[in-house]
C-alpha cells in the first residue's frame, strides 16, 4: 500500500472492576514515510492509548478489541510478543513526556544508549559506545564524551529529553512515536526540542506520530492532524485546513478557547461549557452534543460516522456533513446545467 503505518477502525478496551470500558473507538489513520501526523485532544480523549496500542504497550488490562494496526505491511495486532519486542526500539521508537521516568537512574546515560545499539544493531561494545557518543553530539549535548558517563539526575529536563531522543533515534527507526514530548519542558526549551526533532526528521526520513494537547505544537510540527474527543476521531485533515477552516464544532471551539498572543483585546475567552463525559457515561448520539452550540435532535439520537467534508477532510458531525452534502449537490447541479 505504500503507507508506513495504517490504523484501521481501532477499538481498545480496558478491563476494570466496573466491567469492560471502551477507551478508544473507531480510530483510523494512515501515515507515510517521512510524514508527521499529530493526534490532538484533551485529557482522557484516548490519544495516548491510541499511540500505546501501536507499540503493544497497553498493559495487562488493556487490549485491542477490534481493528487492525499495520506497520510496513505487517499486522502488529497479530504479532507475537517477541516480534513486537524486536520492532520496539529498532523500527518503532517512542519518547514520553517525563524523560526521568524512562531513564534508569543508576546507569550512565551513554550505557543506556549503547544497550539499545548492541541489542538491535548487534554492534560490538566499542562501536556501540562510539555511536552512542556520536548520537549525543547530534542531539546537541555539549561535551558528549564526558556527558555520556553522567547519570540522568545530573542533567536538566531539556538535556534528559535530548538523551531520550538520542536513544530513540540511534537505531534509525522508521517511526518515532512522541507522546507529549515537550509538555514537561519550559517554552524556550520546548522550542529547542521541536527544532531538533524537525532537523533530525529531515536527516533520517523517519515518520513521526506526535501526541499532544497543545495546538500550538501541532501548528508547528504536523503535516496531518487528527482531533480526538471522548475516544473517537472527530476531525482529520491536513494541518493548514484544520487551522484555516475547521469543520467540527469541537475543533472550532477548541481553537477559539486558546488565548492568542497576536491579538490585542481582553474580551472573554469563548470557553466550551461543561466537561468531557466519562467513559462509563458516554452520551447517546454524537458524543459532543451536550456541549455543542449547534446540536440538533438528530445529534442527540444518532451517532455520526466520520464523513467526508472535502478533499482529504473527514468530520464526525451531522451538521458539517450535511453542509458538505449541500455543497456537493450544488456543484453537481451547476455541472449539469
Amino acid at each position: 500500500m505504500g503507507q508506513l503505518l495504517e490504523v484501521e477502525r481501532l477499538q481498545v478496551a480496558f478491563r476494570t472492576d466496573q466491567g469492560e470500558l471502551i477507551s478508544v473507538d473507531e480510530v483510523s489513520f494512515e501515515l507515510g514515510a517521512g510524514e508527521t501526523i499529530a493526534i490532538v485532544g484533551e485529557s482522557g480523549c484516548g490519544k495516548s492509548v491510541t499511540s500505546l496500542s501501536i507499540m503493544g504497550l497497553l498493559g495487562a488490562h488493556g487490549s485491542v478489541k477490534q481493528g487492525d494496526i499495520r506497520f510496513n505491511g505487517e499486522t502488529l495486532t497479530d504479532s507475537s510478543k517477541d516480534q513486537l519486542r524486536r520492532l520496539r526500539g529498532s523500527d518503532i521508537a517512542m519518547i514520553f513526556q517525563e524523560p526521568m521516568s524512562s531513564l534508569n537512574p543508576v546507569i550512565p546515560i551513554g550505557e543506556q544508549i549503547e544497550e539499545s545499539v548492541r541489542l538491535h544493531l548487534k554492534l560490538p561494545r566499542k562501536e556501540a559506545k562510539a555511536l552512542a557518543v556520536e548520537m549525543l553530539g547530534k542531539v546537541g549535548i555539549p561535551r558528549p564524551e564526558a556527558i555520556s558517563k553522567e547519570y540522568p539526575h545530573a542533567l536538566s529536563g531539556g538535556m534528559r529529553q535530548r538523551v531520550m531522543i538520542a536513544m530513540a533515534l540511534v537505531c534509525q527507526p522508521k517511526l518515532l512515536i512522541a507522546d507529549e514530548p515537550t509538555t514537561a519542558l519550559d517554552v524556550t526549551i520546548q522550542a529547542q526540542i521541536l527544532e531538533l526533532m524537525k532537523q533530525l526528521q529531515a536527516e533520517s526520513g523517519a515518520a513521526i506520530l506526535l501526541v499532544t494537547h497543545d495546538l500550538g505544537v501541532v501548528a508547528e510540527m504536523a503535516d496531518q492532524v487528527i482531533v480526538m474527543y471522548a475516544g473517537q476521531v472527530v476531525e482529520a485533515t491536513d494541518v493548514y485546513t484544520l487551522f484555516r477552516a475547521p469543520q467540527h464544532p469541537y475543533t472550532q471551539a477548541l481553537l477559539k478557547s486558546i488565548p492568542r498572543l497576536d491579538e490585542h483585546n481582553r474580551a472573554r475567552l469563548p470557553a466550551i461549557p461543561g466537561a468531557v463525559p466519562s467513559l462509563q457515561q458516554m452520551p447517546a448520539g454524537c458524543r459532543f452534543h451536550p456541549r455543542c452550540p449547534a446540536a440538533s435532535e438528530r445529534c442527540e439520537q444518532e451517532q455520526p460516522q466520520l464523513m467526508s467534508a472535502g478533499e482529504g477532510h473527514r468530520v464526525r458531525c451531522w451538521i458539517a456533513a450535511s453542509a458538505e452534502q449541500e455543497r456537493v449537490d450544488y456543484a453537481a447541479v451547476e455541472a449539469t446545467a
Partner: protein
C-alpha cells in the same frame, strides 16, 4: 442579607468592556498601593548529604520590587526556577524573606508572627495549581467551605447554609456539590472549589499560583473567565503567577517577566507584547508556539542552553550567558531596572 447574595444576582450579567486598560493607569496615579514589595530577597539553604551545614544558598528571589494597586492583575511570568512562585509564597508569608519589605494594605508584614498573620490572611488568599492537594479528601465540600465561615465568625450558624450555597453559585457549581467529596469532581470543578474557598473571606488580594496550568485548554478558558468575572464583582486584586504566556496575557493588566530570581521587564500587558524591550522577553514570546501553521516558516529565534543555577547566578547581567546580543559590559556590570511605566533591566534594550 449577605453581600454575597446581591453579588450573585448580578453575576455574569455585567458588560466587561470597561475592564482595565486606561482605568488602571488612572488608579495607579491616584491611589495608595495595595501591596508594595521592596527589594525582596528570599533564599533557600542547599541541603546536601547527612552532615549538611548550609554549604550554599539558592537565591530564589534576589532583589525584587513590585507595586500593586487595587483592582489590578499583575502577571508574573517566567520559566521554572525563576522564582515566580517564591515571590507569591513570600507575599503570603509562607516563606520567610531574607531581607526587603512587604507592605500589604498599609501594614508592614515582613516580620509578622504567625499570630499576627492570622487576621492578615483573611485579606490575602491563595489559589494553587493542584486544588486536589489543597482539599481534604475526607471532608465534604460543604464543610470545607462552612468551617472557615464559622471559625472566623463571618456568618451566623443559621446563615452558613445560605452563604455556602451562594458561594457555590458564584463559582458556577450546583448546590448539590456541597454534599460531595473532592474526588467526585473533575480538575476544573476542583479549581472552582479552590476559588470558592479563597473568596469566602472577601479578600483584597488573591495570589493565583499557576491556577490553570494543570487544566485542559477548554477548561482553562472557563476558569480564566470565572476569575475575571469574580474580579469585577468582588473588586479583587490578583497576582497571577504562571509559566503559560497565553493565560497571563489574557488576564493581566500589567506583566512582570522574571529570569533567575529577578524581574527583567515590567510593563502594561499590551505594551509588553507590542514592544518587548528585554531580549529575554522577546525570545520568550517568540518561543511560544502559535496555533497558526502559516507562521512556521518564519525563522525562529531560539535561546540556546539552559537556565544557570540560581545558587550561583552569572556575574553582570544574569541573562548574558544565553543572550544573543550580549556585549562585554553585560558580562561585568549588572543592569539596573529603569524607571517609568515600561521598566527594563538591560544595558542594551531592544528598540
Amino acid at each position: 442579607m449577605t453581600k454575597l447574595e446581591s453579588l450573585e444576582t448580578r453575576h455574569g450579567k455585567q458588560p466587561l468592556e470597561t475592564r482595565h486598560g486606561k482605568q488602571s493607569l488612572e488608579t495607579r496615579q491616584n491611589k495608595q498601593p495595595l501591596l508594595q514589595v521592596e527589594r525582596l530577597k528570599t533564599y533557600y539553604p542547599i541541603r546536601s548529604g547527612v552532615f549538611s551545614n548550609g554549604s550554599g544558598r539558592i537565591k530564589a528571589v534576589d532583589d525584587v520590587s513590585l507595586t500593586m494597586y487595587e483592582g489590578e492583575t499583575v502577571g508574573l511570568v517566567g520559566e521554572s526556577g525563576c522564582g515566580k512562585s517564591t515571590i507569591g509564597r513570600s507575599i503570603m508569608r509562607l516563606e520567610n524573606p531574607e531581607s526587603g519589605r512587604i507592605i500589604f494594605d498599609n501594614e508592614d508584614i515582613t516580620r509578622y508572627s504567625q499570630r499576627q498573620l492570622k487576621p492578615v490572611r483573611t485579606r490575602m488568599q491563595m489559589i494553587f495549581q493542584d486544588p486536589y492537594a489543597s482539599l481534604n479528601p475526607k471532608i465534604r465540600i460543604y464543610d470545607t467551605l462552612a468551617e472557615p465561615l464559622i471559625v472566623h465568625k463571618l456568618a451566623r450558624r443559621s446563615e452558613v447554609q445560605r452563604e455556602v450555597d451562594s458561594l457555590l453559585n458564584l463559582v458556577g457549581l450546583p448546590r448539590s456539590s456541597g454534599s460531595r467529596y473532592p474526588h467526585e469532581f473533575s480538575g476544573g470543578q476542583r479549581q472552582r472549589i479552590g476559588i470558592a474557598r479563597a473568596i469566602l473571606f472577601r479578600p483584597k488580594l488573591i495570589v493565583c499560583d499557576e491556577p490553570v496550568s494543570a487544566l485542559d485548554v477548554s477548561i482553562q478558558a472557563q476558569i480564566l473567565n470565572l476569575l475575571q468575572d469574580l474580579q469585577d464583582e468582588l473588586k479583587l486584586t490578583y497576582l497571577f503567577i504562571s509559566h503559560g504566556i497565553g493565560a497571563v496575557k489574557q488576564i493581566s493588566t500589567t506583566i512582570a517577566v522574571m529570569y533567575l530570581g529577578q524581574i527583567v521587564e515590567l510593563a502594561q500587558t499590551e505594551e509588553l507584547f507590542r514592544n518587548p524591550k528585554h531580549p529575554y522577553t522577546r525570545l520568550l514570546l517568540n518561543a511560544h508556539p502559535q496555533p497558526d501553521p502559516t507562521l512556521r516558516m518564519h525563522k525562529k529565534m531560539i535561546i540556546h542552553g539552559d537556565m544557570p543555577s540560581p545558587a550561583d547566578p552569572p556575574a553582570g547581567c544574569r541573562f548574558h550567558t544565553r543572550c544573543p546580543y550580549a556585549q562585554e559590559r553585560c558580562r561585568k556590570e549588572e543592569p539596573r531596572m529603569t524607571a517609568g511605566r515600561h521598566a527594563v533591566a538591560c544595558h542594551y534594550p531592544l528598540a
